[in-house]
Structure formats: C-alpha cells, structure tokens
C-alpha cells in the first residue's frame, strides 16, 4: 500500500525529443488513477518512468515518501501488466508467476501459498501447468495480472492491458479489474487511450496531451467541467459538438458567420468579436417544444442505435457539423429541420485560440 508522488516529472531523449514534461500528480494510497490521452501523448512514458524502465530526466518520483529515481525496476516494489502480456513463453503459468518471487529469494512454501491464492482469485487453478501459448487472450491477461498480484507490490502499473482483447472480453475484464482493485485495496496506475475505459475504471483521471497534463480530476469533473477544449472533445462519445463563432456585440450572444446569432442569456467574458468555440454534448441537446428553439439543425443522416438515435446534421450559417442524441427510436428524412434547445448549464465556452475554458463560473 503506497502513495505515489510525481513531482514535475519529465523525459527528454538524448536526441532532444521531449516525451513528457512538468507532470505532477499526487496519488494517494489505494487510489485507482488512469492516465489517458491520444497515442504519443506521453502517458506510457510516465508509466514506464514510474516502473523504472525509462530513466527520469527531470523531476522527482517518490513512492511512500522515498525518492526512487535511481532504483532498478526490481527494487521499486512495483508490478506491471503489459499490453502484449509479456509472459515468458517457455515457462508454465505457475513458473511465470513464481519467477519474480524466486528471484526475490522467498521461501518455497510462501511462494506456493501466494500462487494458490492468486490462482483462486483469478480462476486460473486448472491452467497452472499450461504454457502461455495454450491459453486464450483473456486467460493470458489474467496470468499477467496473477504475476503482478503474487508479488504483493506497493503499486500496480497497467500499460493498456485490455487493448489486445475483443470488445466483449474487454468489458468483462474491466469489471474484474475493478473488483480486483476493490479487493486488494492497492494503488493502481493505469494507462489507456480509451476514454470509456478511463471513465469506467478511474477514481481519478489524468488526461494528457502532447507530453503535458491537460486536467486531473474525477471522471465526472472531466465530463461536466472540462478545463480545455481538448478535454471536452476527448471525453464523451459521440464527441462534444463545437461551434466556432465570435462574441456578439451585446456580449451575451455568439455570432456565426454573417447572419445567425445565438443568444445565451448571460454575459460573456472578453471583448466583442473575440473568437470562441461553443461546446455542447450531443446528449444535452433536446427538441425544443413547439419548434421554437435556439438552434436549427438540417438533418443529413441518422444512426439508429436502438436505445437512442444520433442525428447528424449542419447548423445553417455555422461552420461544422452537429450531432444530437435523442432517446428511443426516431425517424427523420435527410433535409428535415429540427429546432433544438439546451439548458445554459450544459454549454461550454472555450477560447478559440488557446482552447482554455472561459468563464467557468458564469455558465
């Protein structure tokens, strides 16, 4: 059980490429923290620096208050689960799990007890004497988790552990992982590019972009109050609609192009004419009763998902497409015009140039 302290961690390669910089996160004991972001954002680099597989070029890393920057991976009391499982192909499941404990010099009886317990937890008892190649993908991933569990480490690290599995198995293992975390009560650091995985697993999410932290918060923080346009568009599916426009002359409306304007009913920070992006999630738009709404949508096509319907279309006068998620089965022909409305608290305003959230308090 451990706390983890990332203090302005950074990684610059000898060639001068910076993979991550100024990453500071406090992870408390027993917390499930997910690092999420697009590929190349530096999330894996951070995880590998925690593991000790990548040297830390800037900043400081402590586990339980002790600085571990220069410790070998084997001496940091961590365990890691890899995307491609990284099971030793020539060893049986049992040998795979034993290997680290043997190297640690643990007594045989203790090793056997730990393996028995992990095998029971992960339902691997009948596979203990098989080789990894005789197992399915899901079973291999459970063995990889078993190899981590038996070490009883202070911190568990996961590097996209579910990415190589099919969708159904992924959902199932996600639930198992969550249950495992609850049972072990250990500190988990988990890397993924999949925002759904991040939302469903994390106590807190660290969302990264281009080597930097964009926002740290609970899943609902990120969903309801994204700190930047990047976070707003990354979290949620289908992704948040963004309408680019300018602050109107009355500073309480947004103008799109020449003609149309949208009155917001509250004051906007910043001078008239300043370029902004207005964000609204597809699920937060609804049909305006009586057809008198704020936004008109010209329907282009619809996606029937059964439980709900996603309508894709364009707002006349505004650049860019817009999607709406409506409950139940809906049918619209292409070309139909819908009037949509949205409550003010579900509107997100971002500075179009910096991407920073505007006037969080005003909304």
């Amino acid at each position: 059980m451990a706390t983890l302290h990332l203090n302005a961690l950074g990684k610059t390669y000898p060639g001068g490429v910076t993979a991550a910089s100024e990453v500071s996160v406090e992870i408390s004991d027993g917390e499930f923290v997910v690092l999420v972001g697009p590929s190349g954002c530096g999330k894996s680099t951070i995880l590998r620096m925690i593991a000790g597989l990548e040297t830390i070029t800037e900043g400081e890393l402590s586990i339980d208050g002790a600085r571990v920057n220069d410790r070998e991976p084997g001496e940091r009391d961590i365990a890691m689960v890899f995307q491609n499982y990284a099971l030793y192909p020539h060893m049986s499941v049992r040998k795979n799990m034993e290997y680290g404990l043997k190297n640690e010099g643990l007594p045989k009886a203790q090793i056997a007890a730990r393996i028995a317990e992990a095998a029971r937890t992960l339902r691997l008892e009948e596979y203990l004497d098989r080789k990894p190649r005789q197992l399915s993908g899901g079973q291999r991933q459970r063995v990889a988790m078993g190899r981590a569990i038996v070490r009883q480490p202070k911190v568990f690290l996961f590097d996209e552990p579910l990415s190589n599995l099919d969708a159904k198995l992924r959902t199932q293992l996600r639930a198992e992982l969550k249950a495992l975390h609850r049972r072990l009560g250990a500190t988990f650091v988990y890397v993924t590019h999949d925002q759904v995985e991040a939302m469903s697993l994390a106590d807190r999410i660290v969302i990264m972009n281009a080597g930097r932290v964009e926002q740290i918060g609970t899943p609902m923080d990120l969903y309801l109050r994204p700190a930047s346009r990047f976070v707003a568009e990354f979290i949620g599916s289908p992704s948040m609609n963004m309408l680019e426009g300018r602050i109107g002359a009355d500073r309480a409306s947004v103008t799109f192009g020449q003609a149309s304007a949208l009155s917001l009913g509250f004051d906007l920070p910043g001078p008239a004419g300043h370029p902004i992006a207005l964000g609204v999630r597809p699920e937060h738009l609804h049909l305006a009763p009586g057809g008198a709404g704020g936004i008109d949508l010209a329907v282009q096509f619809i996606e029937q998902l059964g439980a709900d319907t996603v309508v894709h279309g364009a707002v006349p006068g505004a650049a860019g497409p817009l999607a709406v998620r409506l409950a139940g089965v809906q049918r619209y022909e292409a070309g139909a015009v819908l009037s949509l409305a949205c409550s003010a608290e579900n509107l997100h305003l971002f500075d179009a140039e910096t991407g920073v959230r505007l006037a969080a308090d005003a909304v």
Partner: protein, 282 residues
C-alpha cells in the same frame, strides 16, 4: 496445381525420379564397391550389386586402417572428426550467442565496431589466407593439437547474425517484465533468452556440425601426426598414396563411413535442418 493433366503428372514424377537416381547412384556404387574385394574392382565393368566382403572390409577399416596409407584406423579418424565437429559446433554456438546478446541488449563504446569486425570475417574464408593463418597457428604452438584444429574455426558471423536476428524479434516487454521480476542481465540470459533460443540452437547445431565434420583444408594443414587425422581429410591419403593404385573397396568404404554421421543428422532432423539452413543464409 491448377489443372490436372496426366502427361504433366507423369513427366513430373519422371523428373523427380531421375533426380533421385542421379543423386543416389554414386553413393550406391560406393556402397556396393565397399563390399567387394580388390579383384572384382580391378577391371570394367564392376559389379552393380553387393559382394560378400563387406564385413571384412569394414572391420579392417575401422580397427586397423590401411597399411599403405599409414595404417590409421578409420575408427580413430572418425573419433577425431567427431571431436573436431563437436568442439567447432559448440564453440561457434557459445561464442556467437553471447556476442549477439551483448550487441543486441547492451549499448557500449565500439559496439558497432565489434559488429563490423565479426561481419568482416565473412569476407576472409580460410581458403584465401591459408599460409599466414598456418603461420600464426605455428607461432602459437598449436600445430598437431585439438586446439589448433578447432579454435581458429570457431568465430562465426553467420551464427552471430542468426542469433541477433532472433533476439530482435523478442518483444522488449519480455526484458521489462524480467527486470521488474528482479532478473539482471546474466539471469535474464540464462533463464529467459537461452531457453527461448532452443530451436535456433538446434537448427544451427545441424548446419555447424556438418560444417565442422566436413572440414578438409584446415586439418590438412594443422595435423601432420596421423593420430589427429580426420576421416574427410584422411581419405585423400588413400587415393593419392604414392605409386600404388588406390584400393578402391577401402576408399569407398571410408567414403561411406565418412558421410554417415552428417547424412544421418540431416535426414533425422530434416525439419530443423531446413529451418536452420534457410534462416541462417537468408
């Protein structure tokens, strides 16, 4: 094949059978000749079927050898061949796998320099530097020793490349997992890399065993004592033994004995052999 034409099928088998005959016939004749006496082989046409002296010929060859060619028992020559082949094979595998390990898994000054040095040995076969190499071995006092017979041949660019190629296909995560499991470089090599290389080692073993067993020029240079003769090299003394005409039934018997071990290895481990050959050369 795409279509079935009876004429083509017959032709195909005819070609293959002719090929098999062409390859097998010389050895068949050698086998037949080794079971006859000197008179049967003294004038044409020689018999195409076995004679009755096989047992006598082979027992004499294995235990006593040929008086006209120094009287070295072929059994002893074969033992020398076996020692030479095995030392060369294991030596090559051992020094190649560790140098490939160093080159792939470590970063150190002159790494690429060493790599190129090993690569350059491909361009310096013993046949083209006979005399000076002989000179070096003489100066080191290694003439007429097993060390002189084997050590100069155990550098292997081919084996090093094969292992390097194989190591590069092993996922990085495996090393990372091992490091998290507290395995250092030596332990990783012994516990993980070596067992994973088993198939490659076995395939290389076959290729290198044949290479070692079939050495000719090197033993010819390094050994002048008959007690160190190898069978592949020793046969030459029987063919060109002074004025006397070659005793063909003994020569052919020796040829058969000299080819049995490598041929058995190839046929028995055909699958591995093909894998080793195609992968080590391409």
């Amino acid at each position: 094949m795409v279509e079935n034409r009876p004429i083509l099928n017959i032709l195909t088998h005819a070609v293959l059978i002719l090929g098999v005959l062409f390859l097998c016939f010389p050895v068949w004749m050698a086998l037949v000749a080794s079971t006859h006496g000197a008179e049967a082989l003294s004038r044409a046409p020689i018999p195409l079927w076995f004679g009755g002296q096989g047992w006598d010929n082979y027992t004499q060859l294995l235990s006593a050898g040929l008086p006209a060619a120094g009287g070295v028992p072929i059994g002893m020559m074969m033992m020398n061949s076996l020692i030479m082949a095995l030392v060369i094979t294991f030596g090559k595998i051992a020094i190649s796998i560790i140098s490939a390990y160093a080159i792939v898994y470590f970063r150190f000054p002159f790494r690429m320099g060493f790599f190129w040095m090993i690569f350059l040995t491909l361009m310096l076969p013993v046949e083209v530097r006979i005399l000076p190499t002989f000179d070096v071995v003489t100066r080191l006092g290694m003439l007429n020793t097993y060390a002189g017979l084997t050590i100069p041949l155990i550098a292997s660019a081919t084996a090093t490349f094969l292992f390097r190629q194989f190591f590069l296909t092993i996922p990085d995560e495996l090393v990372e997992a091992a490091r998290i499991d507290r395995a250092g470089p030596v332990r990783f090599f012994i516990d993980i890399l070596l067992p994973m290389s088993r198939t490659n080692i076995a395939a290389l073993f076959i290729i290198l065993f044949i290479y070692g067993w079939n050495q000719y020029l090197w033993p010819l240079l390094v050994t002048t004592e008959e007690g160190l003769y190898t069978v592949v090299m020793g046969i030459q003394r029987m063919v060109n033994s002074g004025e006397a005409l070659p005793v063909w039934h003994f020569v052919m018997g020796t040829a058969i004995l000299g080819m049995i071990p490598p041929v058995v290895v190839v046929v028995a481990m055909q699958k591995l052999f093909v894998k080793g050959l195609v992968e080590s050369e391409k």
